[in-house]
Every structure is written in C-alpha cells, then in structure tokens.
C-alpha cells in the first residue's frame, strides 16, 4: 500500500510540476497576474507531493519491504536502521527521488522567499524550475521507478554496496544534490533574464545568494566525498582525479566563477552576458555529471548501475534544457548591449582574471575527463588521462589564481593602482616568503610542498590584511576598529573567511605533500618505530558486526615507553555482497593524522601500513571554513533580500 501511495504521489507531483511549468510562464508573457500567482501554490504542492513519495520510499526501506524491487536490490534486513534509511538514496532510483525533492524544495523556497522579486521574474523562474522537475519526474516514472513491485516477494534483500555503508557517504549525496540543484535555480534565473531580455544590478543581487548557497553545499559535498575516499579506500590519498570526482569539481569551478562575476553585475552593472553564460554553464556541467555517472559511458569505480536506455533519456533532457538555454542565449544575448569599459587594474578587473583562470581550470578538467571518450569515438583509439596530466595542467593556472586571490579584495572598484595594494600586503608577502623559506629548510628542500605552505600563508595573511585594513586596526586604535568591525558588511567578512579557508586547504595539501608511510610485518608483541612513535602490535581478533564479519588488529602506540593510545584498524567482510572493505584507524590531533591500515595476516602476524600525514585534516577543515564564509555572507541582510536594491526592484516590477 505504501509503495502505491508513493507512486501516486510522484504522479501527482508530475501534474503539479507540469502546471508549474506552463501557467506562470504563460502568465508572464501575457502579463496575467492570476496565472503568474499560480506558481507559488503549485510549487508548494509539488514539493509536498515529492516529500510524500520520498517518505514512502524511506518507509519501504525502513521496514525492509521485500516486495519492492528497489529495496530487494539495495537493502537487507540485517543492516543497521540508519543505513537502511540512508540506503534510500544510495542507489540510482532513490537518489533521483531525492534529487527531485531537493529541486522542488528550492522551488518552494523561491516561492516563499522571493516575494521581493518582481512577479514576472519570479513566475518565469518558477516556470523553468517546474520544467526541470517535470523532466526528472518523467525520467523517474518511465525509466527508473523506485516503487516497482515484484512478485513473489524475495525472502530478503541483496544488500547495499558495503562501501556505501558509511556515515560519510550517507550525508555526502544529499549535500552534493543541494549544490547541484542550487545551480538549477541560478540557471532558472538566467533563463528568465534571457526571456526578459534584461539583466540589471538587481538581478545580480538576487542570483548571488542562490549561487552562494549552492556553492557552499557543493564545497561541503566535495570535501565530504574526498574525506570519505581518504578514510574508506585505505590508501591515504584524498583526490584521485577520477571522472566522477571531476564531474563534481566542474560545477564547483563554474559556480565559484559565477558567484564572483555576479558581484560585478550587482556593483558595476557589467559582465552581464558572461554571468548569464556562467549560470547556464554551472547547471550544464552539473547535468553533465549526472549524465556521465548514470549512463554508463564512463569507466569508473563510482558509477551507478549503468543503463544506456536511461542514458538516452537523460541525454534527451539535457538536449532540451541545455540546448534550449544555449539557443535562447544565442538568440537573446546579442541584444544585451555590453557596457562598462573598465580598467584591467581594478576590483572588477581582478574578478575578470579570477573568472578567466577558473574557467581555464574547468576547461582543462573537462577536456581531461572527456577527451578519452571522444578520442575513442572519433579515432577508435583508447587512452586514459590520469593525475599526472591534471596536476601538470591545473597547477600553472592555480598558482596565479591563488597569487591574485589575496590582491583582488584589496583593489578598489573602477580604477586602481597595483602599487599601493602591494604596499599594504607587504607583511603578508613577508609571512608567505618566510613560510616558504622555513618550509624549504625544514623539509629538506622539497619545493612544491614549501610553495604550498607559502601560498597558504599568503592567502590567510591576505584575508587578514583585508579585514585589518577595512577596520583600520593599526590606524585608529582598537576601540574604533572594533566598532568598525561590527559595522563591516557581513559579505566582506564572508569573503575574507572563505579566502582564508582556501589558504587552510592549501596548507593541508602542502602538508600531505610531506606525508610519509611505511610497511611493517609484525608478530604479536613486536613493535616498530615510525614517525617518532613506537607501534606495538598486540594481535588480531575477530570482531563481528551487524551484517559483516571483521578482523580487527590492536596496535598500541607508545611515546617514551608509555602507551599513549590504542588504534584498531580492521578489515570487514560482507557475506551478502561478497566484498571486503578496509577500515583504516585514524588518530588525529588536527596537526597530523596517524593513519593505520591492516594488511595481510600470516601465521599470527600481520602486515601493517602506517601513514604519517601532516596537516591532512586541514584540507577538509579549509573547505568547511570556505562554506562557513559563504554562510556568513548569506547572513548579510543585504545579500539575502537584496535590500539596497529594493527601490530598483520596485522600479523593475
């Protein structure tokens, strides 16, 4: 009964979304206020219907309803309850339902928070969001219905991929979807602007919070995915340039560029066409990721069960949305007159540089990801592109980007001179150079990690300079500075925090460049010395879990003969999925990770792999600081509701 209810709710949602696609759009073009007003209740109704469907699916998983094919394929009665529920979106069908749920939530949010928007713009945005949701609901209902029944019911489910039975991976997809779907909202704004044929400062102000929010979620999602790879794959690496990882990085790069260029639209009324294009691109790239992951054209460890028929459907949808949007762009954008000639040395000039470099990096990653596919198709030759290419090709672009990141926020708008800014940054440069020198000396002349330390410090010191400068800490004394700090716009704080977060990540990556590891074979009672600790192997024992069996090693870590702590790396075997996963033991003190993996066992002894990863947690910490910066910026009332533009908004309506 519950699955049928869910199926019905999905069909209802389709009807609401189809209406949401048509009515407000028609209303906007005929200036019919009643039809436009239909958008808001329809968006809410669609959201509620999809929510009901999602709850029904989650319930089927929670009670392990083995008459539902999707549950049978992906769940098992032995699984802990939390992974039964997270299993709802650990598979293709369920994740699509979650995707549409997030999309309709965003639609409802545009309906609820967008009251400041001109009604025509809001109606068109809702219409575009309705169109996207309609496509995806059709996709779910026709090619991947999660509520399909099977008869007779299976005795039990086949189990979830053990790699996915993990907390990080339970939270990672929803965050990433929030990010992807956020790009759908900026896309809808861009399409609405193209239909309207006008982009103004107010438009930039409305797009920016959505771009910021989606960027923050993407940042968190990517960081979480990378953290998962770090602790679950048992390899000690954090980024593999896997095609699936790349396809989440691409929309991140595009939306990073977008949220910067939206500032230029808002503050200077320039870069309009470019910003619209970026909004289209960000969504196109996140859809491309969906296509690559789900159609089976890629060969990756992360892909969902591949089905070319689904691929054809997604491609058709992509053709409609992305092709349609680009066609609209080619048709309407020439009418938008470019304006605002500006000097290369200015805040907007720096933002253009930022955009160029980010887009070049995105292009490099895109080409590296797709080149093997297309070469195979065109020339029949098969090659693969690995980390050596990506590292070599993105580094020369990332270095000037980071170097300019500290300069940009200090440049004034319109016309600036580089020299005064460099003068204000002299101490940041001194810290960076000092950090570089000290790192070079301490690490035994390892150039790249040392450069990473220098750049990380440069970013953090640059962000600090920006704040210190704005509040005039050294010019006016502490009390006035404190007062000015309170009045400083939160968006300025947010930018500084996010830039500093990037610096923290850079430091983490540099630290990982100094990671060391060793492989030791020990018998119980024996110990090895590594990274300044004594590692005593106490033995291996069986450790049964709810739906797996495990071998768990006890390793005491000794400092000066005293047991400081015990680490327990394990290897889990899942009988249902016939898979083994490594559970690395990680001990962190935020300055370094001790990372211990249990290898083969031989007559009572075991092989242990020990990693010492300096500053490893900073990689993800930095990403969360970046997201925090976006959050602080979003809490700025002026960003959130575009308050200073209220008058122009009224004029536009």
């Amino acid at each position: 009964m519950i699955p049928e209810l869910g199926h019905f709710a999905l069909a209802m949602a389709l009807a609401f979304c189809a209406a949401q696609m048509v009515l407000p759009m028609l209303g906007a073009s005929t200036r019919d206020a009643r039809m436009m007003a239909a958008g808001q209740p329809l968006a809410n109704a669609a959201m509620l219907s999809v929510l009901v469907a999602f709850i029904c699916l989650a319930t089927s998983y929670a009670v392990n309803d083995t008459s539902v094919a999707n549950v049978v394929q992906n769940s098992h009665s032995d699984k802990p309850m939390i992974y039964k529920i997270t299993g709802t979106w650990g598979n293709h069908e369920g994740s699509m339902v979650l995707w549409v749920l997030v999309l309709t939530l965003c639609g409802a949010a545009v309906a609820a928070f967008g009251r400041e928007l001109p009604s025509v713009l809001q109606a068109r945005v809702l219409g575009v969001l309705g169109a996207i949701a309609t496509g995806f609901l059709l996709f779910i209902l026709f090619t991947s219905n999660p509520f399909d029944r099977m008869w007779p019911p299976a005795p039990d489910g086949q189990g979830l991929n053990p790699l996915l039975q993990d907390f990080g991976l339970a939270v990672h997809p929803p965050l990433l979807y929030l990010g992807y779907v956020g790009t759908a909202v900026t896309f809808a704004f861009a399409v609405a602007a193209l239909i309207e044929g006008r982009v103004d400062a107010a438009w930039g102000a409305w797009v920016r919070p959505w771009a910021l929010a989606s960027w923050a979620f993407l940042t968190c999602g990517i960081a979480l995915g990378s953290w998962w790879a770090y602790y679950e794959l048992g390899w000690g690496g954090y980024w593999f340039w896997d095609p699936v990882e790349n396809s989440s990085l691409l929309p991140w790069l595009a939306s990073t560029a977008l949220l910067h260029s939206a500032i230029v639209v808002e503050k200077r009324g320039a870069l309009k066409i470019w910003t619209v294009l970026l909004a289209l691109l960000a969504f196109a790239l996140s859809m491309l990721g969906t296509f690559l992951v789900r159609s089976g054209v890629l060969n990756s460890v992360h892909t969902f069960a591949a089905d070319p028929a689904r691929g054809v459907f997604i491609l058709a949808m992509l053709g409609f949305y992305i092709g349609g949007a680009f066609a609209l762009f080619a048709w309407r954008a020439p009418a938008m007159v470019p304006q605002g000639v500006f000097a290369p040395i200015s805040r907007e000039g720096a933002l253009v540089l930022n955009n160029l470099l980010l887009c070049c990096i995105a292009a490099v990653v895109l080409v590296g990801t797709l080149y093997p596919l297309f070469l195979d198709l065109v020339a029949g030759r098969m090659i693969s592109v690995g980390p050596p290419f990506f590292n070599l090709a993105t580094l020369p672009l990332a270095l000037p980007l980071i170097a300019a990141m500290a300069l940009g926020p200090l440049l004034p708008w319109k016309r600036a001179a580089l020299w005064p800014v460099i003068q204000r940054l002299w101490w940041a440069a001194l810290i960076a150079l000092g950090g570089f020198g000290v790192a070079l000396a301490l690490t035994g002349a390892k150039f790249w990690p040392a450069l990473g330390f220098g750049l990380g410090l440069w970013l953090i010191a640059g962000a600090a300079t920006d704040i210190v400068d704005r509040i005039g800490l050294f010019r006016q004394g502490a009390r006035i500075a404190l007062a000015r700090a309170k009045n400083l716009p939160r968006s300025a704080w947010g930018a500084a925090i996010a830039h500093a977060g990037m610096g923290v990540t850079a430091l983490g990556i540099a630290g990982m460049g100094l990671a060391t590891e060793t492989l030791v074979a020990l018998n119980p009672g024996q110990s090895a010395r590594f990274a300044g600790y004594e590692w005593r192997f106490d033995g291996v024992r069986d450790a049964p879990g709810p739906n797996f069996t495990a071998r768990r090693a006890d390793v005491s870590v000794l400092i000066e003969g005293q047991v400081a702590f015990v680490m327990t790396p394990a290897r889990r075997t899942f009988p249902v999925g016939r898979m083994t996963t490594t559970e690395a033991a990680i001990r962190t003190n935020l300055m370094r990770d001790l990372y211990l993996v249990l290898g083969e066992e031989r007559d009572g002894g075991a092989v242990l792999r020990i990693h010492h990863n300096p500053l490893a947690p900073w990689i993800w910490l930095g990403a969360y600081i970046m997201a925090l910066g976006a959050g602080v910026s979003l809490s700025d009332r002026r960003v959130r509701v575009a308050a200073p533009n209220r008058r122009s908004a009224a004029a536009a309506a």
């Binding site: 890629l298 054809v312 491609l315 762009f329 020439p334 797709l370 693969s384 016939r578």
Partner: protein, 191 residues
Amino acid sequence: MSDLAPRPRRRLLLAAPLGVAALGGLGFWYMLSGLQNGSFNPRGVPSALLGRTPPDFALPPVEGMSHPGLSSADLRGLARPVLVNFWASWCVPCIIEHPQLMALQAEGVPIFGVSYKDRAEDARQFLSRRGDPFTRLGADPPGRVAIDWGVYGVPETYLLDRQGIIRWRYAGPVTAEIMNEDIKPLLRRHA
C-alpha cells in the same frame, strides 16, 4: 558604422556555446547508441586483437627492479597461458585488483606486467608495499605500447594462450568474481 562590422562576429561568438553543446550532445548520442549495439564499450571488450597475436614491441625493464622487461618475443611459444596486466601506481582500481593478481601468482600463473605512464620509483614503491605478482615487467612511460594494444585505461588485463594468441581481455579491475568466473576457467581451457 564602425560597430556594424564586429556584430556578426559577436553573434557567432554568442552562438558558440550552443555549437559546442550540440557537438558534445551528438558525440554522447553516438556513444549511447554504440553502447546499445556493442560498438562502443568503455570497458572495451571486442578488441581487434582477440584471436590474434599482440603487435610487435619491446619494453625495457622498470629501472631498479630485478624483473626482465617485456617484448613480443617473450609472448610466443609459452609453457602455459599467461596474463598481461597494464597497471600504474596512480590508479585506484589497480589497488582493488591487486590481491587477485597476488592470488593468481601464488597459484603459479605467470603475470607479465606493463607499467603504464608511471615513474619507476613510484612503481617500485607500489610493488614493495603491496607485493609483487609479476614475472616480467616492462616500463611504458609514454604509453605507446598500450596504444598499440588498444588499452582503454588502467587496469587492463589480457589472457594469452600457449601460442601467444590473445584469448580474453578485460578493462577494469579484476575482482574476485572475474578471477573465479572468467580467468580460472580460461586458464584451465588453454592449459
């Protein structure tokens, strides 16, 4: 007058995203239809080399390793069927398949490795850390030989019978299932 000249060019420029997207879409469409009729497969099955001997090549050994290198002469007139495995230390799926290679090697199956686009020291470190399943190991830093073999990506594994004819190919990590259900029966059949 002067702003009339650049206008068509600007129009063309603004239509460029549409063109690129259309080309990409067309390519993906061909890939998908190829996936359905089997002419395109990212896991790369119907190799032109199946049923034939591999192309001529000669690879030097990996620097600092005791293994001899690998050349096409080593793949003729074999005592028993062999596996040829293309791998790299930077490839994650290669770690997944590594235990299976070790298990096959323990059963006495000769495995010839090709170190694909890898640095000698990284390859050495990988093998000393995880165990070394290879009898021979050729270094192919530019990936030239891999292109001649039609390697899609690493890891990729070929099975050659005693005459040195390629009988089987698999792109992707050799899992326990592939080992038990594909490789072992083939080894028995061609033994």
